[in-house]
């Protein structure tokens, strides 16, 4: 770095070359590992692209065969069903937990940590805990005689319990940041006016928490639509392919059917859906913030 002339009033900020130099690693990562793969995935989706061997242009075959892929169509319905259920349950549980631990009291730090701790453990590890715990020969719940992954509905239910356990604390923490941003004076004023706890929750907490709830919903919806680990590890798509998510189909196409072109086309569909969804949600979120 050269020495700045002392006469320049705000020297560092103005110099574009230095700014570029500091931003160069970021630019390199974004270009090589993000923009380039995005361009490549579009190109791959236009080609017959086997896992091994030469690629060959075959547009639009990778796209036109999507509606004829029953596994993918089933996975779309299954993933949507899963997303709706998990988003509703996760929001409700997270909100309940956040309300339970919002006040500063003795021991509240312990409760917060206890609820959050499953979130510090990796999703793969969490999945394996449930894999063992819900195995009736090995786990502690064998006496109940419930076949936890024996039927499609039970497999989904068990997975939902796993995801609630792993992510409730994470979402609680998001809501807690919103709850703590509500000024104490607002509550005091409401109490002085004789509002009861339900009225305070309904008329003050909930409306002021709207932007935070919107953020939680966005994260939960986008995360659930892209679910993979929980089904791959815990149910392995079974029984009878009843818990195969969309991303699992992308994975199977690429690495079991050796059809990278088809997988690229499916992931383009995912991309378009996610970007559209994000755009819609961003507008809702912005609406919620300005209210």
């Amino acid at each position: 770095m050269t020495v700045e002339p002392t006469t320049a009033p705000r020297p560092a900020r103005r110099r574009a070359p230095a700014g570029w130099a500091y931003a160069a690693p970021t630019a390199l990562i974004v270009l090589v590992l993000f923009i380039a793969p995005l361009v490549l995935v579009v190109f791959m989706s236009l080609n017959k692209w086997p896992l091994l061997g030469a690629a060959k242009l075959n547009f639009p075959a990778n796209y036109t065969k999507i509606p004829g892929d029953p596994l993918f169509l089933d996975s779309v319905l299954f993933t949507l069903k899963y997303t709706v259920i998990i988003t509703i349950l996760l929001s409700a549980v997270a909100l309940g937990l956040a309300l339970l631990v919002q006040d500063r009291r003795r021991g509240v730090g312990f409760f917060r940590a206890a609820f959050f701790l499953p979130g510090a453990v990796g999703f793969a590890a969490a999945g394996l805990v449930f894999y063992g715990m819900l195995n009736n020969d090995f786990g502690p719940f064998g006496f109940l005689g419930v076949n936890w992954i024996g039927s499609p509905n039970m497999a989904l239910t068990s997975t939902i319990i796993l995801v609630l356990w792993r992510f409730a604390g994470f979402n609680m923490l998001i809501l807690l940041t919103g709850l703590q941003a509500i000024p104490v004076e607002v509550y005091e004023a409401a109490r002085a006016d004789g509002a009861n706890r339900w009225q305070i929750f309904r008329r003050i907490t909930l409306p002021l928490l709207r932007p935070t709830i919107a953020l939680m919903l966005i994260l939960s919806i986008t995360g659930s639509l892209l679910a993979f680990d929980q089904f791959f590890i815990f149910t392995n798509g079974g029984p009878d392919n009843s818990t195969v998510s969309m991303v699992m189909v992308v994975y199977r196409n690429a690495f079991f059917r050796f059809d990278l072109g088809g997988a690229a086309a499916l992931s383009m569909v995912l991309l378009v859906v996610l970007v559209a969804l994000n755009a819609v949600q961003m507008r809702i979120l912005r609406g919620a913030t300005t209210k």
Binding site: A23, L100, F115, P118, A120, G122, A125, Y131, G132
Partner: protein, 259 residues
């Protein structure tokens, strides 16, 4: 009591699976045993290999993320240059793109550049995935520092790099810890990216290696050994989280999740 009993009951429910897993990992047919841990040491390519892989991967990811995000955050907070906003938006857009959409072409791309099946290649991918959060966090950390602090140093003739290293870096340390912690937890725990980008068992990190125990086509699954594997993966995260909880929560408070 009315305050504590429901919260305690819920705490027990939330802690139970982890406690059970720890308990199951030291249980054998004849009571308490270390057999599961002794047995996992020799599993597959050897537990040492997988732990080394995971540590290498997380180490490179943490260093890379902290380095790139510190320099980038400094650039975005304190300099103006053409393309600045475009680059920042492009980095945040990483959040919008599904994991699978970007990993499928990366599998091909890393092969082109000879980084297929490489922990270095995978850690660079993790740095990219961490970038939106880390960059946002570091830019905000730099912006929160009053400009007067560095201006006196600049007037004294120090270059912008000197100012960054000696004046600003100590001030953004909490942000750095947060960014490093998130980068560690993400790279240590991630399952999907190594599953796709690594093909050789000898380069697997812990999550892929331990999950592969359940996917064996022959032989019975040893659930006790599996829970020992869970503990090996989980304990470092639990300790780090408990020690650095403050920095973790900072990541949530910063609004960086909003992207």
């Amino acid at each position: 009591m009315k305050y504590y009993s429901p919260r305690l009951a819920l705490s027990v429910i939330f802690l139970f699976p982890l406690i059970w897993s720890g308990w199951a990992s030291v249980q054998g047919p004849d009571g308490l045993t270390t057999a599961n841990y002794r047995s996992i040491v020799g599993f597959g390519e050897g537990l040492g290999t997988y732990v080394t892989n995971s540590l290498t991967l997380s180490g490179m990811t943490v260093i890379g993320t902290v380095l790139v995000a510190t320099l980038g955050g400094y650039a975005f907070a304190r300099f103006s240059f053409p393309g600045k906003n475009l680059l920042f938006l492009a980095a945040l857009a990483i959040l919008m793109v599904p994991y699978a959409t970007i990993l499928i072409p990366l599998y091909v791309l890393l092969d082109y550049v000879g980084l297929q099946n490489s922990l270095l290649g995978l850690s660079l991918v993790f740095v990219m995935f961490q970038l939106p959060f880390a960059l946002y966090m570091m830019r905000n950390s730099f912006e929160a520092i009053p400009r007067e602090i560095e201006e006196s140093a600049l007037v004294d003739g120090a270059g912008s790099l000197r100012v960054l290293l000696s004046v600003l870096l100590p001030a953004v340390r909490p942000g750095l810890v947060t960014v490093g912690l998130f980068a560690f937890l993400a790279s240590w725990n991630d399952f999907f990216a190594p599953l796709i980008l690594l093909s050789d068992g000898a380069s697997f990190p812990l999550p892929v290696a331990v999950v592969s125990m359940t996917q064996r086509t022959f032989g019975a699954i040893d659930y006790g050994v599996l829970q020992a594997g869970v503990m090996v993966m989980a304990i470092p995260c639990l300790i780090l989280f408990l020690v650095l909880q403050r920095y973790y929560v900072r990541g949530f408070m910063s609004g960086a999740l909003r992207g």
